[in-house]
């Protein structure tokens, strides 16, 4: 266990305060290119998280990929209980943010230190978008 708290800060994101377990993806994410939207599992065979479910997770990703589908998909996934609770990107793109706003999912990007560096899969993470603050509250065992 690391005693010193890990805190990431950045510009204000969208959405409300949430907590969840991190799922860190070395690959970018798009709901169209990578996801089976019926099951909420990563379905692109070449994706690093192939087979993983994003439901209820804090998805940590280097980049938002792809086009408009994600802007609808997050809303629909949330209505079926399959959406992530929060998404942290190194770089987000407009469609990902538009989708998070409609769905009411927390989203932040360009954090310091970078979320991809500071967060590991299984960490319990608290995301406070309006304050521009993310905290790792418990490290993965």
């Amino acid at each position: 266990m690391n005693a010193s708290p890990v805190i990431l800060t950045g510009h204000a994101g969208v959405g409300e305060v949430v907590e969840g377990l991190a799922l860190v993806s070395p690959d970018g994410f798009s709901a169209r290119y990578d996801l089976d939207r019926v099951t909420g599992r990563i379905s692109r065979e070449s994706h690093a998280l192939y087979g993983a479910s994003i439901a209820g997770k804090v998805l940590v990703c280097p980049i938002a990929k792809g086009g408009f589908a994600t802007s609808w998909a997050l809303f629909d996934l949330r209505s079926r209980g399959l959406a992530p609770v929060a998404m942290l990107f190194t770089w987000a793109n407009p469609v990902m943010v538009q989708g998070a706003v409609l769905a009411g999912i927390a989203l932040m990007d360009q954090l310091s230190p970078d979320a991809m560096e500071a967060i590991r899969t299984g960490d319990r993470v608290r995301v406070d978008p309006k304050a521009g603050r993310v905290e790792v509250i418990r490290r993965a065992q």
Partner: protein, 415 residues
């Protein structure tokens, strides 16, 4: 610094234009604040992205609510490609339920004032983007074309954002609306000249696999061949698909790149990408077939122009698609109507191909079609389609147009 609203926008937010426009503006403000927008800008048109498959039942409910609350679009608004060609979906074995939802969605957006174009090539079909005008277009291929080729200004206004812009007539001014975000960031030195339209797509793959961030803008130099509109369509759609890019420049070709200095906005490029001889061929060969048999051959992502349909008709004239292979072409209704009239459709159908108006394969219930017809290999001259369709369980093979025609006729995929 939060986004500053005009008195009229304060009124919209307070519900003076009705509840849907007020909620739409609130969503736009949230997105604008995220990206540091300082103001809203009026748009000349909106292009709605949303087919029932992408939207799901929740998205369809969102649109139902808008209509129930009396929403009206306040700028010229067109619709993107659909899940079905209403005249052909039964024959292909697409689910009746999907067609019913698409009919419902079409009726809803028409009730709000949209033109049901059902195409991802609105810019070729009916709405020319103009230099300097602000747009709220949703499909990424339309956005990058409008920005790069015409010098118009649009971000990716994805599904709900495209509806919001159609309702408020404006968008938050960040990203591609600002000159500093449109300037080139990376220099691409091209040393292998594209020879065909699909080669321009292959060039887009080379760059889009390396630049995978909306905020990066490649500047192409060293091109000795002048691209036509269809080549630029493939280059743009591919960059948008692989890299999520919304802008590019070709020095001496695109309007904000009369010189290299202008394209780079007076800054030095952050890095260089060299496209060496053989690079385009390596892109095609990076798509490896799992088996020799071509189950399906598809042209038309983005929707085919009339000239592309004519070329395919010429290549297919007097030939016959293999009995175990399906050949599909997708385009928009204006092109289909002309192709019917000019005899191209008849040539393609005599060869055993189908030409569909309105849909695009990757949203055409591809999982259901694969189940019903046993599809696994899909051969296409669209690098974008080859990028997207693996998420639906396909082995995608990107090849030049003429090779795809050969695959359709012989039923076999070239190495």
């Amino acid at each position: 610094m939060p986004l500053r609203l005009t008195p009229e926008e304060d009124g919209i937010l307070a519900g003076r234009w009705g509840e849907p426009a007020g909620r739409a503006l609130a969503m736009q403000i949230a997105v604008g604040d995220f990206f540091g927008a300082r103001e809203m800008v009026a748009v000349a048109s909106a292009h709605l992205t949303g087919d029932s498959e992408s939207m799901g039942d929740a998205g369809l409910g969102f649109v139902e609510d808008l209509v129930r609350q009396g929403a009206r679009f306040v700028v010229p608004t067109t619709t993107n490609a659909r899940n079905v060609d209403f005249d052909c979906y039964r024959e292909l074995g697409q689910p009746e339920e999907v067609a019913a939802k698409e009919r419902r969605l079409r009726d809803l957006v028409v009730a709000m004032g949209a033109v049901a174009l059902d195409s991802c090539t609105n810019y070729q079909a009916i709405c020319q983007p103009l230099f300097g005008e602000h747009l709220a277009w949703g499909d990424t291929g339309t956005v990058i074309y409008a920005n790069a080729v015409a010098g118009a200004r649009s971000n990716f206004e994805g599904g709900p954002a495209s509806y919001a812009a159609a309702l408020t007539g404006r968008v938050p001014a960040y990203g591609m609306h600002l000159p500093e975000c449109r300037a080139g960031t990376h220099l691409v030195e091209v040393r292998e000249q594209p020879r065909t339209v699909s080669d321009w797509g292959a060039l887009g793959v080379v760059v889009g696999r390396q630049l995978t961030n909306y905020w990066l803008v490649p500047v192409f130099t060293g091109l000795q061949v002048a691209p036509g509109g269809d080549a630029l369509k493939q280059l743009g759609a591919t960059l948008a698909s692989y890299g999520s890019l919304a802008m590019f420049h070709i020095v001496g070709v695109t309007p904000e790149a009369r010189t290299l200095e202008e394209a780079l906005g007076g800054r030095a490029p952050r890095a260089r990408i060299e496209v060496e001889p053989g690079a385009l061929d390596r892109i095609y060969r990076s798509f490896v077939p799992e088996k020799e048999k071509a189950d399906l051959v598809v042209f038309g992502t983005p929707h085919l122009s009339l000239f592309e349909v004519r070329l395919l008709a010429e290549l297919l004239r007097g030939r016959r698609v293999h009995a175990d292979t399906m050949l599909l072409l997708t385009t928009n209704r204006p092109v289909k109507a002309l192709a019917d009239r000019l005899g191209y459709t008849a040539v393609i159908e005599e060869a055993g191909g189908k030409i569909l108006a309105g849909p695009c394969y990757y949203i055409m219930t591809p999982r259901e079609l694969a189940r019903r017809h046993g599809f696994r290999t899909i051969v296409t001259d669209s690098a974008k389609l080859a990028n997207i369709i693996p998420a639906s369980g396909y082995n995608a093979i990107f090849r030049p147009t003429a090779d795809c025609v050969e695959a359709a006729v012989t039923g076999r995929i070239s190495a």
